[in-house]
């Protein structure tokens, strides 16, 4: 089990409409790794993350995530082990934060108490009755991180990892990433501010390929 990488991309190309996101991307992510993904606005970090999350099919090349070949039906079986926190909140604006997390818990087959506990863990115990569209960006972000605590993923993908979080909450990101890594999983963090990342190594998208950042 340990020998198998969590993500491996071989010469992956990805094109959406008329935009080429990746040309010959290579990447390996081993269990226990925490990797930063850097790059300027519009370089395709979010799209790459969504592809790794099995939500987009590569246009060429091949990739495996958690042992499932991208673009095949095998990805359906590994999706529940992946959590992606996008740069837009994956929450229903009309529902309360509590309802949102309980929705996740029920569909993930986790006990409902875990939803409330995880909200408390990210410091939102008192805000669970607040509607998502009445919450601040930082609160939404915390609520989304609670999802990672409920699902306990093997692969955690954080887009704009620290966006909108206050000093207190930035620690949550690292704690959650540590949990995942500690359990033999892997984490990819996207950020514009490399200084704030505590990662093992970083890669960056340059002209459609992935390059290591020293």
């Amino acid at each position: 089990m340990n020998a198998n990488p969590i993500v491996s991309l071989e010469n992956v190309g990805l094109r959406i409409g008329n935009t080429l996101i990746l040309r010959h991307a290579k990447m390996t992510l081993e269990p226990g790794e925490k990797v930063g993904l850097l790059g300027p606005n519009g370089s395709g970090k979010t799209t790459l993350l969504r592809m790794i999350a099995t939500l987009l099919r590569p246009t060429s090349g091949s990739g495996e995530v958690l042992g499932a070949e991208l673009g095949t039906d095998a990805v359906y079986d590994v999706r529940h082990r992946i959590v992606m926190v996008g740069h837009l909140p994956g929450l229903y604006p009309e529902l309360t934060l509590g309802e949102n997390t309980r929705f996740v818990a029920r569909l993930a087959g986790r006990p409902l108490e875990l939803a409330d506990e995880s909200l408390a863990m990210v410091g939102l115990a008192g805000a669970s009755e607040r509607r998502a569209d009445q919450s601040s960006k930082g609160m939404l972000r915390r609520a989304e991180l609670a999802r990672a605590l409920i699902i306990e993923p093997t692969l955690l993908l954080l887009d704009e990892a620290h966006a909108g979080l206050d000093a207190e909450a930035i620690g949550i990101v690292d704690d959650i990433a540590e949990r995942v890594v500690g359990a033999g999983g892997a984490v990819i963090l996207v950020s514009h501010e490399p200084d704030r990342l505590t990662v093992d190594r970083s890669v960056q998208i340059v002209d459609g390929t992935l390059e290591a950042v020293s």
Partner: protein, 222 residues
Amino acid sequence: MTFWRQVYEIARKDLLVESRTAEVALMTAPFGAAALIMIPLAIGTDAPLLTDLGPGLYWIVVLLFGILVILRKSAVDGGPQRDLVRLLGIDPAARFTGATIATSLLVLLFEVALGPVLVALYNPDLRGWPWLFLILPLVAIGMGLLGTIASGVTTSLGTRTSLTPLLVVPLALPLLLGATQAFEGLQLGGSIVPWLVLLFAVDLALAVSGILASGPLEEAVT
């Protein structure tokens, strides 16, 4: 996590969101009622004429204005919500079924809300009304299915609000005929069974194609 459990959760979530926005109850239904008030002013307020035309107009309003139920906000997840649901590992067929159930229930609500308006304004012949307990849901399910398929293929397109009605309305013709003819059959005392069979057949064909299409559809929307 069984299939029906997923269906239940999706439908529940859609209806919960809808209960917060109240789009169908507070916006679409009054709009349909307003239409039923406007029509006689245009075509004449002669009582026998309205009794005659009432049911047909009712079904036209249900099918045309019912498109707004399909287009309502809670029917379509935004990009991040779609990603969330997909990563939760939900079967596309379960998602389709759950969304269809929610939309169908709301179309049914729309139909029921317009019923009293029809009775009050048009004084229609309501012979055989218990059959409505069958006709109304069959039409609502058909609309729910057509609507879920059509809003599936138009998801995230800029012209969604114009394109969806064009895709739905022509294909809704068998529903219109089934509903109006069954209604007429009740008044004339004829057999309405063939029309119920037609409605049922439409629903069945749409359900089968919708469920088979749900997998490819999920891939089409990225």
